[in-house]
Amino acid sequence: MNTRFNTSTFLFGNKRQINHIDAEIILGIKSSDPAISEFYVKRLFYIELKALLTTIQYSLYKGTIEYDELVNELYIHLSRNNWDALDSYRGDNKARLSTWLSRVAWRFFMNSYRKSARMTSDEGSTLDCVKSAEILSDVDIRMDIEKVMKMMPNRRYAEVLKLNLYYGYSAEDIAVILDTTVSNVYNIKHRAVMQFISIYGQRDDV
């Protein structure tokens, strides 16, 4: 089956700069030919997004949900109205479809995770259940973050992140606490986040 498209013949609009591989995937998925559409759907979910969905499967759901279930959920979300969601992807400055979908998928599954936690609690019909389910996911995230923070070589970076993101101190308050300027706090926070992200990706248990 020849499923390849000459993407240069398709117009994505003046403001869209979509990579030809991503354009081929989008056009293939939206194809009116079911065989072609299925081919590109499988390519998107089982090749292009394999690493992303596997990370979500084990990082967010701790492996308690099957890969195919994640695919099914995201497929339903993205395929509404003939894949209208993909029209939001513009490919500005050569950003790839998989990068854009990484954000979409993480947000989608985070919201879905929160909703399912709430629903499970509602079935228990006590306020305590609702609270414990919501606290559970917050605790998971806090433990995950603090584990990485302990690995950060710059303790000042970890301290700023904790003061700002956990205790909710403003940059102005932190500047007073650390006896520095507000703009320096913003600089430290930026470097701290970048260091955190880097270490987060190097953990052995990821």
Binding site: L52, Y89, A95, S102, I141, R142, L165
Partner: protein, 56 residues
């Protein structure tokens, strides 16, 4: 500067994840993080993209 992580638009965040955003705009994203959840979400998105990039 954007106030909330949720308000960062798709294009800006995509460029951040691809390491293609100017430093000042990168700062506007990192400084928009208000909670541990925001940081956790960004770290996961960023590292998912890293894994995808390495596999390509």
């Amino acid at each position: 500067m954007t106030n909330k992580f949720e308000d960062i638009d798709n294009d800006m965040l995509s460029l951040f994840l691809e390491d293609m955003l100017p430093a000042t705009k990168q700062m506007s994203i990192t400084n928009s993080l208000k909670t541990y959840k925001d940081l956790w979400l960004l770290a996961n998105m960023y590292n998912s993209c890293e894994v995808i990039r390495k596999k390509k």
